[in-house]
Amino acid sequence: MIKRPITALASLAVAAVTALTLPLPALADGEVNVYSARQEALIKPLMDEFTEKTGIRVNIVSARADALLQRLRSEGRNTPADVLITVDAGNLHSAKEAGVLRPIESEVLKEAIPESYRDPDGYWYGLSMRARPIMYVKGKVDPEQLSTYEALADEQWRRSICVRSSSNVYNQSMVASMIIAHGEAETEEWARGLVANLAQPPRGGDRDQIRAAAAGVCDIAIANTYYLGQMLNSSDDAERAAAEAIGVFWPNQEDRGTHVNVSGAGLITHTENVDNAIKLMEFMASDRAQQWYAEANQEYPVKPGVEWSDTLTSLGEFEADSVNLGRLGEYNAEAVRLMDRVNWR
């Protein structure tokens, strides 16, 4: 009786080894291998469409950006990956610095993607855009009281701001953009003020900040636009109600513009599968893909002239910070240390 589970598990193991080592049939039209920091569910439908159109099959490994980068570095010239897709320009910049990306000359990409959303040397190209504006509780905060990120450090907002942990790359990039605008000392002063204004110790993700604000923990939340957009389209009533209580204020419209970031892609240095890889990237910059990609995740298309989703249109237009996003990555480590110093958890 006791012996049987052991036998069962052992035979399961044997069967599994056999099944898992069976080679997959290769396709005639070729393949392209993608390391993606965007989770599979978000890009798979688009990849399927690409396969349907071109006959090129797309293989995906998705994981955290930093881990993928480590994998690329250690695999070196034998890496099977052709394309790296990741969120946040900080990560794209690290990939470029690590030498795992190589520049592409593609007229299609250059034409589709505005200059500030791609690497000046063509190492990576932004594919979708998101903003990190100030979100406020309608009725509790008068948008007239809001102006800039800088002003969030004012004493007026004592115990009334919600923002997530500084371990998150979105906050790291935001603070990096402040360092570029004001230098380190001034940014540190600002961050100290912001931390003093937090209503609760940072915890949870961006959605949690929005929920907390809607529930009354704080008056202001800093969060990415697509989280709000997804909550507004949620099938969960409570989630939708929370999002509807929130208004979006576009800060710094008088000066450098609202902090934005991108998801993007780059060509792997050691790939020999260049044609297929570039085909995939160009496909992702096409009108159709831009619209789907943006719509499915409530992100902004990077390509000018492609229609926004209804939800994003309802949030209004804004002036985006025009700093080249590649520069944010250069200040990432500095931003992390600065946040350590001001005790931004």
Partner: protein
């Protein structure tokens, strides 16, 4: 009493033979290979301390140390308070529902820590249904009332305690069940009450098992990333990630990891020390059915509550929440790919479990045959993987594997003009290897505990009858320790099922598991969508958990006499 037993045990064990070198070499070899990723991480320590280290020391290091210590202390006390009494109650006492509690108390083992954290946060957060209900009923607002904050250090302690106490329960129950009736009968005839029998005889005898369970729970606590990260608590694990990837300094991150390892070393030394003083195999073969204490009145109600509470909080409540979410998101699991996820998870877990236990058997037996400082140390280092966060292990595997692949490739290119590419990296081999490194401690501890209970006189008898070491293992030890082997298999199986970070980064193209799917959705803050995959992990995990419990019940000497 104990010292009498120990003397007897010592006298019986006799001189040890130290001949078969093949076993020692095999043990050493396996240990060395499994310790490789850990040593690779440690090698980073020798990168000279950068100014990042100075920065850490001045700012956040103290937080990491203090929080990790409090977390371990809290979880340690918690798992002991839940695990040991419940184990004692279901093994020694009689009260309604006992037979159900026996296996149901193990159920939280199937619940990954990060998933229980997500579900409780969903329920108990300020914006969650419970607090919203309170506010609607009372008209209070934020700050008008006190409610325990789930996303705090104490919240993390509670979450980890709820899913980790089964290790202590499992091992102490097995120990209570194996205690020779004579010992307890003697204590009863000497007039000790049930309580003092527990305190003065059963508990000290079960101590090594309890400590082993505690060590496993604490190592798991140290390695936890998902829960503390989600709760925003700065600990060693979150610090390592932040330093490695946020500050871009692998050297300082490894130094943090090394500091964390000293905690583990203390744990291991503690465990060894608790075993050192006595031998714990039983010297009498005279087993008979243990009469249970019949609980009545308040004692009965108390026992019921004590056993019911951890099951309700650690399993029923979170799975009900998951079930509710899964019902709302039928599109997530009503698709053919979902079965593929289940198959991938189950098959990977089965392969890893069989391999890990096989290696553990060789190592444990090798140690028994020829115990030496070198093998001991090698085996200890190899089993430290359990306390190291999965991502760190994954990096420790990626580096040497890629190096081997690239070296072979370069050689082949130069010698024969052909490229072999990556042979190991990015394959399931790397993944299964990672599981073995990560979960060796689980299988090794269980197998070793089982082996330790077999009297060395058995070996001597079999050997004197002309059997070689291999025959002894196969024909004498393995049949006797079937229970331990099965327990080890199933524990690793469940652990692999839940494992996330190493799977995420080491897997091949287009290969997804339930844990990967659950995490990807949850990390995108789509808790409801992630529920079906999370629930599937729990459901698949329940089967082995129930099997473990049955094995242990059968392990009781004389179990076939009706209870």
């Amino acid at each position: 009493m104990k010292s009498a037993l120990a003397t007897l045990g010592g006298a019986l064990s006799g001189p040890r033979w130290r001949r078969p070198d093949a076993w020692s070499i095999g043990t050493l070899l396996i240990a060395a290979v499994l310790a490789l990723p850990i040593l690779v991480i440690f090698a980073h320590v020798f990168i000279p301390a950068s100014e990042v280290w100075e920065h850490l020391r001045q700012t956040v290091l103290q937080d990491y140390v203090v929080n990790s210590l409090i977390l371990m202390l809290g979880v340690g006390v918690g798992v002991l308070l839940i695990g040991v009494p419940t184990a004692w109650l279901v093994s020694m006492c009689d009260f309604p529902g006992r037979r159900i509690f026996e296996w149901a108390l193990l159920l939280p083992l199937a619940m990954p820590a990060y998933i229980i954290a997500y579900t409780y946060t969903g329920m108990l957060d300020f914006a969650g249904p419970v607090q919203t209900q309170i506010r609607e009923l009372t008209g209070w607002g934020y700050g008008d009332y006190w409610f325990p904050e789930i996303r705090s250090l104490s919240g993390a302690i509670a979450m980890l305690t709820l899913v980790l106490y089964p290790y202590v329960y499992l091992l102490s129950r097995a120990a209570f069940l194996e205690q020779s009736i004579c010992v307890l009968e003697v204590s009863r005839t000497l007039g000790s009450s049930p309580w003092s029998g527990f305190r003065r005889v059963a508990l000290p005898l079960a101590r090594p098992a309890i400590i082993t369970g505690l060590t496993l729970a604490l190592m798991e606590t140290l390695a936890d990333y998902g829960t503390v990260e989600y709760f925003g608590i700065p600990t060693f694990t979150t610090g390592i990630f932040r330093t490695w990837f946020g500050l871009g300094d692998p050297g300082a991150a490894a130094q943090l990891a090394a500091l964390m390892m000293t905690f583990v070393l203390v744990l291991i030394v503690l465990e060894r020390y608790s075993r050192r003083r006595a031998r714990f195999h039983h010297t009498s073969a005279r087993y008979s059915r243990l009469p249970r204490y019949r609980l009545t009145g308040w004692a009965r109600i108390g026992a019921l509550v004590a056993c019911l509470l951890p099951i309700v909080l650690g399993f029923l409540v979170p799975s009900t929440q998951l079930f509710q979410w899964a019902l709302k998101t039928t599109h997530m699991w009503m698709q053919p790919q979902f079965l593929g996820l289940v198959w991938n998870s189950v098959s990977l877990a089965a392969i890893a479990a069989v391999l890990a236990v096989f290696l553990s058997l060789i190592m444990a037996y090798g140690k028994r045959l020829g115990p030496s400082r070198t093998t001991n140390a090698a085996v200890r280092i190899a089993s430290m993987g359990y306390a190291i966060p999965g991502t760190v292990i994954a990096v420790g595997i990626m580096l040497p594997f890629a190096w081997i692949d690239n070296t072979i490739d370069s050689f082949m290119r130069e010698a024969f003009g052909i490229s072999t590419g990556l042979i190991l990296s990015g394959t399931l081999v790397a993944l299964v290897f990672a599981y073995c490194v990560r979960f060796l401690a689980v299988s090794l501890n269980t197998v070793e505990a089982g082996l330790a209970k077999i009297k060395p006189s058995m070996d001597d008898a079999a050997r004197s009858l002309g059997s070689g070491p291999r025959t002894v293992l196969r024909r004498v030890h393995m049949p006797i320790m079937r229970g331990s082997i099965l327990t080890a298999l199933l524990l690793v199986f469940v652990d692999v099922l839940k494992e996330l970070p190493a799977t995420l980064i080491l897997r091949p193209f287009n290969f997804n598991t339930l844990a990967v799917r659950a995490f990807e959705l949850a990390s995108d803050e789509r808790l409801a969508d992630s529920a079906s995959a999370a629930l599937a992990i729990v459901l698949v995990g329940i089967i082995p958990v129930i099997l473990i419990s049955r094995t242990i019940s059968r392990s009781r000497p004389g179990h076939d006499t009706p209870a």
